[in-house]
């Protein structure tokens, strides 16, 4: 259940921004959850609902962008799109892939009220 710690990290980032930018409430929070980030979206949604009461995220709507995973195929020498770390290269069906993108979890932006 590392999603719970991650939800805590998200709350911390948002509360720090609330202090800096002087707002009280977040109405919409947009997150980027890469397909290869190792994060289960349902678990993260549950964790965010669980930790947000009492913080400026209480009642906020959460939107998730899920950028696809990209990997460098060592056989084809090119970048390919994959949805899972266990996927084969769509071009050569080989498994010599090094993930290069879609591995991040980031807070993109948020809609706030004073």
């Amino acid at each position: 259940m590392h999603e719970m710690s991650l939800a805590g990290g998200i709350v911390q980032l948002v509360e720090a921004a609330a202090q800096r930018e002087q707002f009280q409430k977040v109405t919409l929070l947009r997150l980027e959850v890469g397909r290869l980030s190792g994060i289960e979206l349902r678990a993260l949604r549950f964790a965010l609902d669980a930790v947000s009461p009492g913080t400026c995220l209480e009642g906020a709507r959460f939107e998730f962008d899920e950028p696809p995973g990209t990997a460098w195929c060592l056989q084809c020498n090119c970048s390919v799109e994959i949805t899972d770390r266990t996927d084969a290269c769509p071009q050569c069906s080989g498994f010599r892939l090094q993930p290069t993108g879609g591995t991040d979890l980031r807070v993109i932006d948020m809609l706030v009220q004073d």
């Binding site: 259940m1 911390q12 707002f23 020498n77 090119c78 498994f95 010599r96 980031r106 706030v112 004073d114």
Partner: protein, 337 residues
């Protein structure tokens, strides 16, 4: 970073024990934020709701409507606005991990983060390794940080071998984080050679035995030189595909308990193939910590791994990708000419 909520500042941690007793009534806390010993400081005073975008000068009674965050007040329109953050959620942990890594390199410490499922034989392997290193490389200073949810059984086993060990109990946490490792490392007795390192020669070995868990520790960088995934042959050869993130993050996979191979159904070749599917560059060693098979290769691997031999950063990986693209273009160039 704290495992309950992700807080990272020392101040939070220091205040945690006292804040819970004076919990502010105005702020309804969520069930998880009220965990014992856990609370957070209030945000600084902000204007009352309803007057959010008007500031009143107490002396003169003057009203200032441009004080809201939007810097302008429009009747009937709220001060809602968009704030771009573009922040990495694991950023706080990554910063602490970078501090740990810099410290390890400066002191000539090779730090290895041992990850596996519970019961794969991490502690037995560590005890056997410490004893074998004492004979093979007596000048090498070895220390251990033990991570478990509860008990100090593992640290006790390590201390029995004579090596210094610090036990970190994570409570409900399912992984070690960079802050825990930084604080535990500070409590380890420093070796006589600390501070007197030359180049990146290996002088000290720090084993960090993570909480037995093949999922969460993959995401938390501790500042280690490399992650070592341990898989015992009693667990099944399909683990690398079942838990790909962990095997993708590891530099070395150790197949442990190979003395039991005659008694279990375990296809070594298939296991290695699966591991290379999720991580083409993973190195593999087969050993038995109890019988001693493969220990020589493991000791050699340990002594070859230099402190500065750190994992590739995403930017370095992107540069390598660019090199690959350019080389591919160069290969095609003579044909086009």
């Amino acid at each position: 970073m704290c495992v309950v909520c992700g807080c990272s500042s020392d101040q939070d941690r220091l205040e945690a024990m006292t804040k819970i007793e004076q919990f502010q009534p105005g702020r309804a806390p969520g069930p998880l934020l009220t965990a014992p010993g856990h609370s957070h400081a209030q945000a600084p005073a902000t204007p009352q709701p309803g007057q959010a975008h008007v500031q009143v000068n107490a002396a003169t009674g003057d009203l200032h409507y441009g004080a809201g965050s939007a810097k302008v007040s429009v009747p009937g329109m709220s001060q809602a606005r968009t704030i771009k953050l573009e922040a990495d959620v694991l950023g706080a942990n990554k910063q602490l991990a970078a501090n740990n890594r810099a410290q390890f390199i400066a002191r000539g410490v090779t730090a290895l983060n041992l990850v596996s499922s519970p019961g794969s034989g991490k502690t037995t392997l560590l005890c056997a390794t410490i004893q074998a290193l004492r004979a093979a490389a007596p000048q090498l200073h070895v220390a251990v940080i033990e991570g478990d949810q509860q008990t100090s059984f593992d640290a006790d086993r390590i201390r029995a071998t004579g090596a210094p060990a610090i036990q970190v109990n994570t409570g409900k946490g399912c992984h070690l984080d960079a802050q825990m490792v930084g604080e535990a490392y500070a409590r380890l007795p420093s070796s006589p050679s600390a501070g007197a390192t030359v180049g990146d020669a290996l002088q000290q070995l720090l084993f960090i035995e993570n909480v037995g868990n093949l999922v969460c520790p993959a995401l938390w960088d501790l500042g280690e030189t490399a992650k070592v995934a341990i898989l015992s042959v009693t667990e099944g050869e399909d683990k690398p595909l079942k838990y790909p993130d962990m095997f993708a993050a590891a530099r070395l996979m150790i197949l442990n308990k190979i003395d039991l191979l005659p008694y279990v159904q375990f296809d070594v070749a298939r296991c290695i193939d699966y591991a290379r599917r999720v991580n083409p560059g993973i190195e593999v060693l087969q050993l038995s910590a109890t019988r001693g098979d493969g220990m020589a290769a493991w000791l050699q691997w340990l002594q070859q791994t230099a402190p500065a031999d750190t994992p590739q950063s995403p930017s370095e990986l992107r540069l390598r990708q660019r090199i690959g693209e350019l080389e591919a273009a160069l290969a095609l160039a003579p044909a086009a000419r």
